[in-house]
């Protein structure tokens, strides 16, 4: 290989969303020479789109809130499959991470006492989401981006250059991770602008690449969400867990077709919005599952009273966790009570004044006005489920975010475990901050503790570059495959056969089709053009990752013979306590995805005691509870 641009760092962070930026800030603050790599421009990562808020039990609006309540809600939302240690760290550390943002310059909406205001959201017992109107993600990413800049300004003052210790490589795609033996040694990627390859050497890599939603046809996710980080981790020898759990957000836009899937924030329901069928009926009362009956109202009168008197009334069922609401909408439509474009109605106009809507939901108002000609201050929105978030991801050590591969860390949506089988709204942004920071610290500690820095084998770099350029060679060959067509084919398969409601036979068929597409993927060609900013080429590389990740989702989903959170099977409709402690892991062995079962570590006794026996019985097996009881007695 001829000359290749080369850089050396202590920590490489792949991803410039909330998780990546928080990790980089931490690593740099601990003296690490740090690089941030991202596919889009700086400040455009998916995090920018988050609307509703950040969950943190600060207790600013209802002082009854604290980390225990937040922990309980998170575990319930995830149907107790969550990694409880992650859920504990998340609940205890989220407030501090949010307050820290204020020291970086963030301006959240305020309470009358001048504290950070908090709003209601599905599955959260108290008003808990810190927010800025309905553009919280923008505030989060801009704040972190500006903090990165301030660290660069400090470096400039001390070392003479903005990029002395922290550099952003924007519009830069990582195609492969490099290893020295079994540990991390760096990464290879290319500048999207000109297609030139770069070698980055570093003993530690933090994956913060976000999700996989672009593998589904109807999704709230952007082109970036092709599961790159999931695939990079697999190929580097790490394990993915919980890949069968994919969150379908109940409320995406359904019309016009070009915006199908775009998100309608849950804040609409948090602030009073209700769901109705085509006859105007509030159908959610029919869908409160047994496990949640104690805390959700069974009629509109009580539900309405809750907004002003939450202590003496149960919550409206519109605020059930997302998996419940998405299934309910799906069922209403299936049974013929949907709206003209195949959704249901979401109405906030009957609940809030025009001024309130404009103040609390300005970007929703704008979005519907501009894109659908609907004025949400007087008309109902048409909404339906959309693929939104993947609960599955890289298996990590909760405290340090380290994966099984030495030097490889993961945080944010690309990491698995924290949310169990279903994530609560608002728990992602807080997850990014809590575990982004921990990953940055974990990587810094790892690097400080090294005796010898890893070395990169130039042959590995050549191989990576060769593989990424191969699709140019295929260009003129007969039977060349078009990446746009293949991507759309895969999206259809995933949506239709591994979507919101699943079935064994359909998933077998999905796996066959994915394998068949995978066969043809070897002939994916760059349809036209050279290496200069060529979306056709970029997509070829993305599709390879999407196929790998799609296979993990389908394979794990087929294996789990129960329904839980973001995994619902028609042929196994019940939740099975025997499956609660069993996690499905995916690894890559000789190029093939291998799924295996593993036991989850039993929850610590003091955390178990935060729940009533009665509640635990709904989720745990009798044996598990018996063991727990003996443990408590001998303690």
């Amino acid at each position: 290989m001829a000359e290749i641009e080369t850089h050396e760092y202590d920590v490489i962070v792949i991803g410039a969303g909330g998780a990546g930026l928080r990790a980089a800030i931490e690593a740099r603050s601990r003296g690490m020479r740090t690089a941030i790599l991202c596919k889009s421009l700086f400040g455009k990562a998916h995090t920018v789109m988050a609307e509703g808020g950040i969950a943190a039990a600060m207790g600013n609006v209802n002082s009854g809130d604290d980390w225990r309540v937040h922990f309980r809600d998170t575990m319930r939302g995830g149907k107790f499959l969550n990694n409880w240690r992650m859920a504990e760290l998340h609940a205890t550390e989220a407030p501090r991470r949010v307050w820290e943002l204020e020291t970086y310059g963030a301006l959240f909406d305020r309470t009358p006492e001048g504290k950070i205001s908090q709003r209601n959201f599905g599955g959260h017992e108290y008003p808990r989401l810190a927010h800025v109107g309905d553009r919280t993600g923008l505030e989060l990413i801009r704040t972190l981006q500006q903090k990165v800049v301030s660290l660069q300004q400090r470096d400039r003052a001390e070392h003479g250059s903005y990029e002395a210790g922290l550099r952003v490589f924007a519009e830069f795609t990582v195609t492969d991770l490099l290893r020295d033996g079994d540990r991390m040694a760096g990464a290879v990627g290319y500048w999207r602008e000109n297609g030139r390859f770069v070698r980055l050497t570093a003993p530690s890599v933090v994956l913060a690449t976000g999700g996989i939603g672009k593998s589904f046809k109807v999704t709230s996710n952007s082109w970036e969400y092709t599961g790159d980080g999931h695939a990079l981790a697999l190929r580097a020898g790490a394990r993915l867990i919980n890949m069968e759990f994919v969150q379908f957000h109940p409320t995406g836009m359904v019309w016009p077709p070009s915006v199908k899937g775009i998100l309608v924030t849950e804040s609409v329901r948090g602030d009073g919005g209700v769901l109705r069928d085509s006859a105007g009926r509030r159908f959610m009362f029919d869908y409160v599952p047994e496990v949640f009956k104690a805390s959700y109202a069974d009629g509109p009168e009580e539900a309405d009273r809750w907004y002003s008197d939450p202590d003496n009334n149960r919550r409206p069922p519109e605020l059930l966790p997302r998996d419940e609401v998405a299934r309910a909408i799906n069922n209403e439509v299936k049974e013929g009570r949907g709206s003209p474009h195949g959704g249901v109605y979401l109405d906030v106009a009957g609940r809030l004044s025009t001024e309130e809507i404009m103040r609390r939901l300005p970007s929703m108002h704008h979005q519907f006005k501009e894109l659908a000609d609907v004025d949400i201050t007087s008309q109902s929105m048409e909404v339906g489920p959309t693929c939104h978030y993947v609960m599955g991801g890289v298996e990590v050590d909760p405290d340090s975010a380290a994966s099984a591969v030495p030097g490889l860390f993961a945080a944010g949506e690309v990491a698995g475990g924290m949310h169990g089988s279903n994530r609560l709204g608002g728990n992602s942004l807080s997850d990014l901050l809590v575990f982004g920071k921990r990953a940055g610290a974990g990587a810094a500690d790892y690097v400080s503790g090294l005796e010898r820095r890893p070395e990169v084998d130039p042959a590995d770099v050549d191989e990576a570059v060769g593989a990424a350029l191969a699709p140019f060679e295929v260009a003129d060959a007969r039977g060349a495959e078009n990446p746009y067509a293949m991507q759309s084919e895969l999206q259809q398969v995933m949506n239709r056969l591994v979507g919101i409601i699943r079935d064994g036979e359909e998933m077998c068929s999905a796996l066959e089709q994915i394998a068949e597409i995978g066969q043809r993927a070897g002939r994916l060609a760059v349809p036209e053009g050279n290496r200069q900013f060529n979306p056709g080429w970029h997509l070829v590389l993305d599709v390879r990752n999407m196929l790998l990740v799609g296979e993990c989702v389908a394979a794990a989903a087929l294996r789990r013979t129960e329904s839980r959170g973001g995994h619902t099977r028609d042929d196994h409709p019940r939740m099975d306590p025997n499956w609660r402690s069993r996690l499905l892991g995916c690894v890559l062995r000789d190029g093939a995805v291998e799924v295996s079962e593993q036991e989850q570590e039993p929850m610590r006794a003091d955390l178990m005691r935060l729940f009533s026996r009665e509640e635990l019985e709904k989720y745990f097996t009798a044996e598990e509870l018996a063991v727990e009881e003996t443990a408590s007695r001998t303690e």
Binding site: L107, V149, P256, E528, Q532, F533
Partner: protein, 252 residues
């Protein structure tokens, strides 16, 4: 109710380029970006265009549609007559990389030159108290999605690359205003002077308040009225009366 829309798109790179005509299927409710995507998927697989959210939230998809700076994801085709030729060109103020993608690094350079928020001494995380009415002014500016359309349209730099050195553009003058109006920013207490710097380092004086930036802002931020003019007033105050300046600061 699909129809064949007539699109004229600039294709080329930093060396050369031309406008090319295409006929593309347009479906009900579609936006310009949808048509560009359809072109990509069917006829121009290497057409370079930036986008992310497709909902006006990320500011990636900026271009000029019939000469007007716009987000292509929020520009409905129904704005135009079905027979009208819709011309899409890259933002003119920034150097082209390829097709509709241009080099916007100028903006990131300018962003780095604005001194960051200075946290108040003695306040721990969690102790910040601010009233809603006091944060609202800066919150308006923080709605900015960094689409850089205001930068693109501002005549100070639009056809005057030579001014780029001295002028940070509306987006980053507004950033100075945002920090200046932040209720807890301690920059002045540590001897800094944001308004004065906006004049000296960021070229506020070159702005002659034409309000073109405000007109194109997709977030409807009142850049000129609420950020630039107040900043100019503060500069004026301080220049005439250093004592007043001192008291104003204390009072705020």
């Amino acid at each position: 109710m699909g129809y064949q829309a007539r699109l004229r798109v600039w294709r080329g790179d930093s060396e050369s380029g031309e406008l090319r005509d295409y006929e593309v299927e347009a479906e009900e409710g579609e936006v310009v970006l949808d048509l560009l995507h359809r072109l990509q998927a069917t006829r121009c697989p290497d057409l370079a265009v930036r986008w992310n959210c497709k909902a006006g939230k990320c500011g990636s998809c900026s271009a000029e549609v019939n000469g007007r700076p716009r987000l292509t994801c929020m520009t409905r085709m129904s704005l135009f007559d079905p027979d009208e030729v819709v011309t899409v060109t890259p933002m003119r103020t920034f150097p082209v990389i390829k097709d509709l993608v241009c080099d916007v690094s100028y903006n990131y350079v300018k962003a780095r030159e604005v001194p960051a928020f200075t946290p108040p001494e003695g306040l721990e995380p969690g102790e910040y108290r601010m009233q809603q009415r006091d944060v609202e002014r800066s919150q308006e500016f923080r709605k900015c999605i960094e689409c850089f359309l205001c930068q693109d349209t501002c005549h100070v730099i639009r056809d005057h690359a030579e001014n780029k050195e001295a002028f940070s553009g509306p987006r980053f003058l507004m950033r100075v205003a945002e920090l200046e109006m932040h209720p807890l920013d301690d920059y002045a207490e540590r001897g800094g002077d944001r308004p004065e710097e906006s004049r000296g380092e960021h070229g506020l004086g070159m702005c002659n308040i034409t309000k073109c930036c405000t007109d194109v802002c997709p977030e409807h931020i009142r850049i000129t009225d609420n950020a630039l003019i107040p900043l100019k007033e503060r500069v004026a105050d301080r220049r005439y009366d250093p004592i007043l300046r001192f008291f104003r600061r204390k009072k705020e």
